[in-house]
Point group: C2
Chain length 456, copies 2
């Protein structure tokens, strides 16, 4: 009798939004059927936004285990179009985002030049972190709104294509993310995992390289949270039969020297030419090496990194980048002539007011300053000015003398007052100089490679 | 400098829905300004329902202290009309609701007959608990939609008036309660406190008697939760300068014998005539005694109860009730002739199938059975049939023999099948009979009287 009524309870007929919210509110574990019933109800209009947001807050505060997270990911994934690619060498990369994080433009051509197929669907920036699509649009003519047919064809034939997110991929994520964004339920590991993984799994890659950033400019400020997110992403990826590499990397200071869309594209091309700042270059090679490894084209991560270095050295990675720009309607001459990229007319140097060593460059503050200049978005609908930004001349640990330039601000003519304000903020607290040499945080804290049993 | 920026943060200009939700989500204490900004935003349409429900879930899981609860109460209270009465002897009573809980109709005339002014604004029932307004509407012609002018006039001139809740009193509570009802955020002590107190304070009484029920048929099933709610109600009442009496009372079995609107009105009249079941009579006298005490018309609760007993014995409480019915358009002859009340045509006895003692009468189950018969509401828009219900012939602790009637079901002709189903449920598990004499729970667990410093 009690067994019978238990069975009845697990049929979808008896589910109510109330009972599911109450179960999670009280710390219970939601069944796959309950999650499916709720998420499909949201997309069908049976579940109201205010019920979803109550559940989101309950999930935020009570958590979800790997099984629940995988079920949530699954239903978000199949809420839209799901692409598939033949072959094991299709590898995608995702970064949780940061300031000056432009590695996609470097590692994708490198991996493709090594024989990896790289299907890359990226987002736009919001708040202090930039977006890959916004950066790509600094390249005159470059199109990211290609149809899926072209996207799949280019990946298969040429090994690389970069497009923007569309409403067709994981539409449930779009709806849920919009709610999380206004209800303070963003920073939840199961919700972040489901949001990232539903999109990444829909793109059809067989392996995923995940760059989970930590530090003041990152989504996951604390290292232990970044580690938990990396573990959650890995567990979910493995459940879906994906090979996974996760790296936890530093975002306490901006990555590389350039912040701002055109300036970042220039830095990417420089690195593809074997030049550019070492931190951004090293991280790009590390992640590209992981893609080569997951694709089965190297036996170890070290071998993958060596292969990545080789395609930079022989110019083939740059050629892949150049060809991709041309194929997607952009002007490939930007690779040789940086003046083809839109750059702000004015440059102002910010000079050090002290002798010593750089102790801190606040990534979050620098990202927000770039938004203030018009280089990013405060709200979804803002236009982005690709020409503005910063080039840092010093990084944490570097020695500097009073009067030496800390960084160059690229700005428009009418922004003199704003630049004065930025200067006060930067010299006042965003960049800290001290007489003692600081301990420098490592660039890459840890890396884990996990092979899915399905592919082993 | 840091002081300055702190001051800026506390100005309403800088509030965002996100930051307030996030603060409560992280267990922080909301300032009075933040609560005001959020609640006024909800009523003005600046805050969306999905943001309110996220905050409600955060409050449910993180709690609120007395100061926050008082601030929430305050802004909900002043979202609508606030009545005031001169003099200290204006006392209201509130019950957290239960099955067979009809004490309002007994204690209000008793208190009024003792000289207390009783302004009573009541709600309708939903789910297993009945509503005072529904019960009053069993009396032919009785009107509860009087204008506030008449309400105030009748309270002042005659000491008693009973009306239904209107959208003019605490409209923010109405909106918030509707959201809580569908987002599993009902059972939160600060939210319950603010909901009850915003309405009760708006009614202008100077003292409040609170009957906080506990047990399987109550809102607060566990005694410790009922105790916490009683403490929260008291603390909030005292902050608003009200004298408070709170009693924690049993709702593990229905109160009295009658469940169903007309049947309950009959039971009330019987008790006002000095008859009727002892539990319902004793509780009504206890609460009425508390109202007499808070009104300053008795020195002790015991003296208040003695005065209450006296006005029952001399018939003056019944006369107050009769006059109130007449004044509010109802037929006062119901007091003498119960056939004037609508009663279902059919009666079915449910006979005991065992010898022994009654160990349990499940109040929740009996309340839901009454709803099934049409005597209550599953959803807000349901009509209520005043004629159906139950009269219990035995209560917990009573001896019974097989074949003796446990209860009478009052039902309509087309409900035979439903009655058979109820019978199985009642004999199967809702009423439990055992050979050993049970320990009977006390009717009143504890009572606390607290005087506001403003009035002392």
């Amino acid at each position: 009798m009690s067994q019978e009524s238990k069975d009845t309870d697990s049929s979808t007929q008896d589910f109510t939004a109330y009972s599911i919210i109450a179960k999670k509110r009280d710390g219970g574990k939601l069944s796959s059927e309950e999650i499916k019933w709720f998420i499909s109800g949201l997309t069908e209009g049976r579940i109201a936004d205010y019920q979803m947001s109550a559940l989101l807050m309950a999930i935020y505060l009570r958590g979800m285990d790997t099984e629940e997270t995988a079920a949530l990911t699954d239903f978000m994934l199949y809420s839209g179009k799901v692409l598939t690619f033949e072959g094991q060498n299709v590898i995608d990369k995702h970064s949780t985002g940061g300031v000056g994080d432009k590695t996609s433009f470097i590692l994708a051509p490198i991996a493709a030049a090594c024989g990896v197929k790289v299907p890359m669907i990226s987002g736009r920036g919001l708040g202090h972190t930039g977006g890959t699509v916004d950066k790509s649009e600094a390249i005159p003519g470059f199109k990211t709104d290609l149809p899926f047919e072209d996207f799949q064809k280019y990946v298969i034939e040429h090994g690389i294509c970069m497009i923007g997110q569309t409403g067709e991929i994981a539409p449930a994520d779009k709806k849920i993310y919009a709610l999380r964004d206004v209800t303070a339920t963003i920073e939840s590991i199961p919700l972040i995992t489901a949001s990232i993984m539903s999109k990444k799994l829909a793109e059809g890659a067989n392996g995923l390289v995940m760059d989970v950033k930590t530090g003041h400019g990152a989504f996951m400020e604390k290292k232990e949270d970044a580690k938990k997110l990396a573990e959650s992403l890995t567990a979910t990826g493995l459940r879906f039969g994906r090979n996974m590499m996760t790296s936890i990397t530093d975002m306490s200071q901006p990555l590389g020297h350039a912040i701002g869309n055109s300036l970042e594209i220039i830095e990417c091309i420089e690195i593809l030419k074997g030049k550019g700042p070492s931190d951004c270059r090293d991280l790009s090679l590390h992640l590209a090496g992981g893609m080569v490894l997951l694709a089965g084209l190297a036996k170890t991560l070290e071998e993958g990194i060596e292969k990545a270095k080789a395609v930079v050295a022989d110019g083939s990675a740059l050629k892949v980048f150049r060809d991709m720009i041309e194929r997607q309607g952009g002007d490939p001459e930007v690779c040789e002539d940086y003046t083809k990229l839109p750059l702000a007319q004015e440059k102002t140097e910010i000079l050090s007011n002290a002798n010593g060593y750089i102790h801190r460059i606040d990534a979050l503050a620098m990202g927000l300053h770039c938004v203030d200049l018009g280089g990013g978005r405060k709200v979804q609908s803002d236009a982005v000015d690709p020409g503005v930004g910063f080039v840092l001349h010093k990084k944490v640990g570097d020695k500097i003398e009073a009067g030496e330039s800390l960084l160059t601000v690229y700005h428009n003519k009418d922004q003199q007052k704003l630049v004065e304000h930025l200067k006060d903020s930067i010299l006042g607290h965003d960049i800290k100089i001290d007489s003692k040499k600081p301990d420098v945080e490592p660039l890459i804290y840890e890396t884990h490679v996990n092979w899915s049993q399905k592919n082993v």
